[in-house]
Assembly symmetry: C2
Homo-oligomer: 590 residues x 2
């Protein structure tokens, strides 16, 4: 680690008393052999075992901050008491609107320590969406980054601004310091332990492509078990360093066009509670580096100099990483946890050349992030990169603490509660379903939506997939992304995977476009690799024909794209997913 952390002095109130005890209040109501699962106490154990280890580094800002586990734990205690003093009661929602920063990391612990529920809000949303979430969640308080104030103009919710300085005079620091007054008196043993492990932990709102955002409520038990699964699956340890990044750019931003965001994004802490990684890393005693912005050169600096071992991101972000001029073979291997879409053979090859080991996982906000993983098999070592990539592109099998993943037939009627598996033939398309500890508790204040999603005691994901004979699922599409071409179901994902194998294609997205004869036909939007952009300049039609010919050698007729549009960039959500709705709108207008 190259950080010169001595240059930063945490506030006096961030320093724990000399005889600090990390013992929680005694839980006299519980049997001796039980304690409720809860990820918040991970910080107490880390502060006990590795008090002076760097826990949280926030280096790439005007006022860099560095917190050891001992200091960070004290700040979390201060936050918990400050929240309680501000009137936060058990079960209350506390909203957080912030890019990756120590404050949102604190919030994942301090809010739970106060027995409240953290409501992280996507920084990419519009003011009316933010207002709706604050209203629907009934949040009593908002912790907000100074750069995002324009999202809450005119709203009445009480808030604490974080200037992200870690210095005295920063309103967030003053809030923490105020909390310290009570924490000094009472310490950890003064905080009531949440006895119900089924109590709410996180309330996330899904940024649905249509309709109002829905609140996804998760539990303490689920958060604990999902975090541990991420530690085991990622083999995170005390020698690990996890890199967080995301864009700090918020609405309205010059690079955004209405709702369409042109930058590539990666898993930020505000998205599905960062897939429980804010807890997983602490459980493993790892170090976390938070970057407010996405800056590939800076990312490579951290890869090369800061001991980074783990990060998460969608393939689009991984493409940005391998294509950066600073990219080079790494002195030590890094685990890249890939989700959101399947990595292509080309991407896998490029990552591996740099010493980055891709781990392909699949998950949703409803499942605390990843709940399946494509487990690599020893036999794959004998395969070509392309063959291996085809197997790796599948979404895999259930995660360490997840219950089984199934692919099931759609309901026969509104009231159909039977959950029946499709055959394990790699062909029959069904819906991905699962149940168990790492499934959300409910849609917040929406029993009707919960009932529908939990048909037959299983959570139904809305993702369409096949089940292969080896028990591995492969996502075909979201229900609405299937293209019904001449009566056949064409998977836009399968088409994209074939088109992506063309050597000149950087990224591709396929949507349905209506067709007089066939009902629907696939339309492909593609971006070209940097080195081929100029060659095809002014000849996009010619490339389109070339790609259509290429497709016909690899896909059945009904799945071949009828139209190909070469674009400079694809529209994406804040988490790097391609916004197919926007592409559909464009396709409809053509």
């Amino acid at each position: 680690m190259v950080f010169i952390i001595n240059a930063f002095q945490p506030t006096r109130e961030s320093i724990p008393p000399p005889n600090v005890s990390y013992q929680q209040k005694q839980t006299s109501g519980l049997p001796t052999h039980l304690h409720p699962l809860n990820p918040f106490p991970f910080i107490l154990r880390a502060a006990t075992v590795y008090p002076d280890k760097l826990a949280l580094a926030h280096p790439d800002v005007e006022y860099p901050t560095f917190f050891t586990y001992r200091i960070w734990a004290q700040r979390i205690q201060n936050l918990a008491y400050a929240l309680i003093e501000a009137g936060i009661q058990p079960g209350d929602r506390v909203a957080v609107l912030a890019p990756n920063s120590p404050m949102i990391a604190d919030a994942h612990y301090g809010i739970l320590a106060a027995r409240a529920i953290i409501t992280p809000i996507n920084t990419r949303l519009t003011p009316p969406e933010v207002a709706y979430i604050l209203e629907h969640s009934g949040s009593k308080l908002l912790l907000i980054d100074r750069g995002l104030m324009q999202l809450v103009q005119g709203l009445k919710i009480p808030f604490i601004v974080n200037n992200d300085t870690g210095r005295i005079g920063d309103p967030y620091e003053d809030f923490l310091s105020a909390g310290r007054r009570f924490s000094a008196e009472k310490g950890w043993a003064g905080l009531d332990v949440e006895l119900d492990e089924g109590a709410g932990a996180v309330l996330c709102y899904t940024s649905g492509t249509t309709g109002r955002p829905k609140g996804v409520l998760t539990t303490l038990r689920g958060s604990y078990l999902a975090a541990i699964a991420n530690v085991v699956e990622g083999q995170i340890s005390k020698d690990s360093t996890y890199l967080w990044w995301a864009s700090s750019l918020a609405y309205p931003h010059p690079l955004s066009e209405g709702n369409v965001l042109l930058n590539n994004r990666i898993l930020p802490m505000f998205h599905a509670a960062g897939w429980t990684f804010p807890w997983a890393n602490v459980f493993a005693f790892a170090t976390q580096i938070t970057m407010r912005t996405v800056d590939y050169s800076q990312i490579w600096k951290h890869f090369l100099n800061s001991g980074v071992t783990h990060y998460c991101g969608a393939p689009t972000v991984q493409i940005g990483i391998v294509n950066n001029p600073a990219a080079r073979p790494l002195p030590r291997s890094i685990s890249a946890i890939i989700a959101g879409a399947a990595p292509t053979a080309h991407l896998i090859g490029e990552l591996e050349k740099k010493g980055i080991q891709p781990v392909h996982v699949y998950g949703l906000t409803y499942t605390y992030g990843p709940f399946t993983r494509c487990y690599d098999q020893p036999s794959w070592a004998l395969l070509s990169l392309e063959e291996r990539a085809k197997l790796m592109a599948r979404q895999g099998q259930s995660f360490a603490t997840a219950q089984e993943v199934r692919v099931v037939y759609p309901p026969k009627s509104e009231d159909d509660q039977e959950v029946v598996d499709v055959p394990k033939d790699g062909k029959t398309v069904g819906e991905v379903a699962t149940r168990g500890n790492i499934v959300m508790k409910e849609y917040f204040r929406d029993p009707e939506a919960t009932r529908k999603a939990f048909r037959g005691g299983y959570f139904h994901s809305g993702d369409l997939a096949v089940m292969h004979p080896d028990g591995v699922i492969a996502i075909m599409d979201r229900s609405k992304d299937i293209i019904i071409s001449g009566g056949e179901n064409a998977s836009s994902l399968a088409i994209e995977q074939e088109l992506a194998s063309h050597p000149h294609v950087l990224e591709v997205s396929v949507v349905a476009r209506s067709h007089v004869k066939w009902g629907e036909r696939p339309m492909a939007f593609v971006t070209l690799r940097q080195e081929h952009v100029s060659a095809w300049k002014g000849k996009h039609n010619v490339f389109g024909d070339e790609l259509k010919r290429y497709a016909r050698t690899r896909l059945p007729g009904f799945a071949c794209p009828e139209w190909v549009e070469v674009v400079e960039e694809l529209p994406k959500t804040s988490t790097g997913k391609i916004l197919k709705t926007n592409l559909r709108t464009i396709a409809a207008k053509l």
Copy 2:
């Protein structure tokens, strides 16, 4: 892995049907977001993800057996149905009396799959002790290794004998084959899921040095969480191979003298359910090798040729390992999980020279095995081996899924329910106490003993320790091992640690012996290192004086041994713990 596993053909009934489904029965009674924690389904996930990976190797016997996850899972299913067909009901106890072997590994899954409780019995016990355990546990059936029949002569319990051949004609194999008839019809979905994660998992009997053995009942939830903790702490993964060994020698044996066993032992599967490692290894998709016997040369063969990465054992066993003529630096590092006593500087140095990384943990049958670990600190790299060993000898801080460990004052009266910590001064001796998910549920059929052990909502271990300022506990002694010398409390453990640093001492044990003037005084029993045995032959008294002089330079007067006895070997329990009761008897007679 050098095993030639093709030489072995599992029985026809061990081979799953071609379209096997690993899906359990649907649990319609539970909320969608809950599934009860239970370690048994680990095998279903392993068989799904790595069906053809070697799960269980049993190579060092007349009829070697090798089971992949797919085959092993089928055998477990057969066992579950065979048990149910034999009349085993949910909550019933099924006893197992066996050395490390596939049968006892099966039992850790098959018995739980039948919703029954596994009762592993120490193979070192006498027939009356075994009879008592079978009677007290109310076991309905016994799975017994052919080599241990003399332990149950004349008892009426129904039993299945395992000849440990894995071949047709072996009564245990016939039992499994019978189970297959039902499993073929019903599969995994035919087995009821245990909905209560607080249900019993294992009933172990502690082989107390005095009095009747006590039954320690653990839960499914605790077993699940303790197993995962062992995976995380041990960093076990699909690339790991765990080596089990133990002596198959049973009572009466030519090497035993009454109750005193002269061989060194290590953690066998029957001891505290092998500290949950039978489940931990499967959760991590690791390979397990089972050795019926302890044979250091054979162990080194496995170290060098079988890809071993993990094993557990007391320091006495580790001494046997490093002193074996086959010992040499290993091509890849092995984790040695050490418990039962603190490793000495000499032992740590010898292990590290071979590429064996010692991990010092502390635990009890009541805590599913380890619940604290001595976490190594980065700053230790700068210390001398001796200084580092002193720090590593401490028992550490709480384990991944354990709740906090405390050192507390003894109760002031019979009814004292207050649990008060001793100061963190590294001096004040108190009792080790803990609570939470990895504490036993109860003493089986002994509410009075449970009530006493759970005073004030904490489990009281009976081990005496100090709490260091850094939050690390260091065991001083079992309550009864404290020597009250001239009114001072002398820790026999602390004395042993100092005496063990003498370069000629191999092992040492210190007990109290009554003394006219001082009440009690320490007496040391020592064995000499191989290379010094002949030099001191016939001059044991001279060496005793030399060791007493050595002690006076390192210990306070009241803690110096008044007597030193050089012996050839120290008496030990089946798990390698030195039998101080025997030494006390000898000391009393002198």
